[in-house]
Symmetry: C2
């Protein structure tokens, strides 16, 4: 097993976010579950919601893409695999992830549907409510996988969101096989409780089969996956099933469990929570970057908390400050 | 002369801004004039510069478009005329300006070139340096002018930037004629010194012919237009030639001269200048909104300063706060 060229290669949705402010009344009126993500299944549905949206700003997003972009900003070596269409938003996504220092070579897909868009409504409390039109993203074919690339990364990072469509799911299963054969680790983020309600059995089987080395979840996702009533029961049930379990708990901080040892850290203080979009993605970035540098659980969790705090203090899910300077200031 | 339905109708470039951070070294290396705007004449030139740009965020822009969007946010009734292409960035521009409450009905133009993009590099001091690919924007045809709309607005607002391409210049000349016949006022912003170096004679003739009622300029533009050496000489020369002259001076505030009376206000304090993109556009918005409400020069200038201060305290050239609440807090 040779030294890998990359710290992390991620497979995820390739999405351009459209961010706009909205009040709680709008979220309720549109029947959205505040703080959650829901899929829009047709361009017409996406257009109709966009027409109701206030003035927006566009920024590249996608959960796993945000994570590897942030790891790159922290100095890590990363690559991304995801499907954009051959259109202007696809160019924006490809430009931004490459400009962030991430290797990205998945060819754009010609014709319809368009590149994925996520309409994100940010309420005055900083919470984000997401509505995603997956577009081209759901057609990532197994054939687009660069197997040599997957084998050349210390960690393969997968997002639960992408388990939903059939083609990328097959691609991710193939990638897991490649990574394991190459002796690499597989990290998986559960993404959202709706992913668990749709694919919980798949996820539990991946875990039972010993295919997941690092599992990321927030509190609600952990409870849903473990089919228990609370956080403690969830940790108790899942910790023995994955080598490394990492659970984020919003303002209550985060917890990691490895080889029977549990470590928790508090959330990093933030002057004002502007927009929580990307909080979990950036937490995962900090944690994985810490691990890649050989840091212990506590310091890795702390780096995750610092990264999450940066991202929720402004609009958008990609870092806006010099992350390495921030880390130096916060963690020395 | 009936009561107009709109306070302001603007004709301008329909641009989507791409904002990114850059350091002074990059600006120098690329041979850009810091703080200025330069045109990119081909898609290839725009693509090459975009490839060198860091991760970006997209937001609707365009000088006059920013002005009417902000007037709408202040409670005014506005319309915009400008040319987008039939593409994703064109949809973004159209969505954002309508979502801002501005009437916008110029049909999208099929085929190449694309919707205009402005690559904006923001340096750590908050200064913006702009590189514009005008794309579809420069093909606004005179035939796209809704003459009834022009005649139905108290003020026709034109941007100097759009004087450069031939078709929109003809459209603006036609609009001036419609507005004057309908007994409306014509406001003109000089936009940038490069516009004056290319079209100063045209601008001076418009003024000499009595076609401009309100002239907006910054200090450098005033000096260039008046062909004098300093601000005082510029004011002395131009004030007698237009009924209302409004000059912005950055941190030194702004001055208006009308019927021999000169009024100046200081700049509104800002905690941190993040991005000066749109400062002049928002100043014009505040001033025109004040005038539309029958306010005097001093209070109108003050509203301009408040609006400019809001826009330079964040990225992008469209307001991010409740402008009417801000005005109530600042001006009572």
């Amino acid at each position: 097993m040779s030294q890998p060229s990359y710290d992390v290669v991620a497979i995820g949705n390739a999405i351009v976010d459209v961010l706009s402010q909205a009040d709680d009344g709008f979220i309720a009126q549109e029947g959205m579950a505040k703080g959650s993500m829901q899929l829009m299944f047709s361009p017409a549905e996406a257009d109709a919601l966009y027409a109701k949206m206030g003035p927006g700003t566009e920024a590249s997003g996608g959960s796993a893409a945000n994570t590897v972009a942030a790891i790159a900003a922290l100095g890590g070596r990363t690559a991304f695999v995801g499907q954009v269409a051959d259109d202007q938003l696809g160019e924006v996504f490809a430009h931004d992830i490459r400009a962030a220092g991430v290797s990205f070579a998945t060819p754009a897909r010609p014709g319809e549907p368009t590149t994925a868009r996520c309409l994100i409504f940010v309420t005055p409390d900083g919470q984000r409510t997401m509505n995603t039109f997956l577009g081209a993203s759901q057609f990532l074919p197994e054939a687009a996988l660069d197997r040599a690339l997957i084998a050349d990364a210390a960690i393969l990072y997968l997002e639960g969101y992408l388990w939903d469509p059939e083609e990328p799911r097959a691609a991710m299963r193939a990638a897991i096989e490649v990574a394991r054969k190459a002796g690499r680790k597989v990290a998986f983020t559960l993404s959202d409780t709706f992913c668990i309600s749709r694919h919980g059995d798949d996820f539990r089987k991946l875990i039972a089969d010993g295919l997941i080395d690092i599992l990321f979840a927030n509190e609600a996702e952990l409870v849903a996956l473990a089919e228990v009533d609370d956080f403690d029961a969830g940790v108790a049930k899942m910790a023995g099933q994955v080598p490394l379990l990492v659970v984020t708990r919003g303002q209550a901080g985060a917890t990691a469990v490895q080889a029977g040892r549990t470590v928790s850290v508090g959330a990093e203080p933030v002057e004002q929570v502007v927009d929580t979009t990307g909080a979990g993605d950036l937490f995962a970035a900090g944690f994985l970057r810490g691990q890649a540098q050989g840091w212990g659980l506590e310091k890795s969790l702390k780096l995750g908390a610092v990264c999450a705090a940066e991202i929720i203090s402004h609009y958008g899910a990609r870092p806006q400050v010099d992350m390495q300077a921030l880390v130096a200031a916060k963690l020395g």
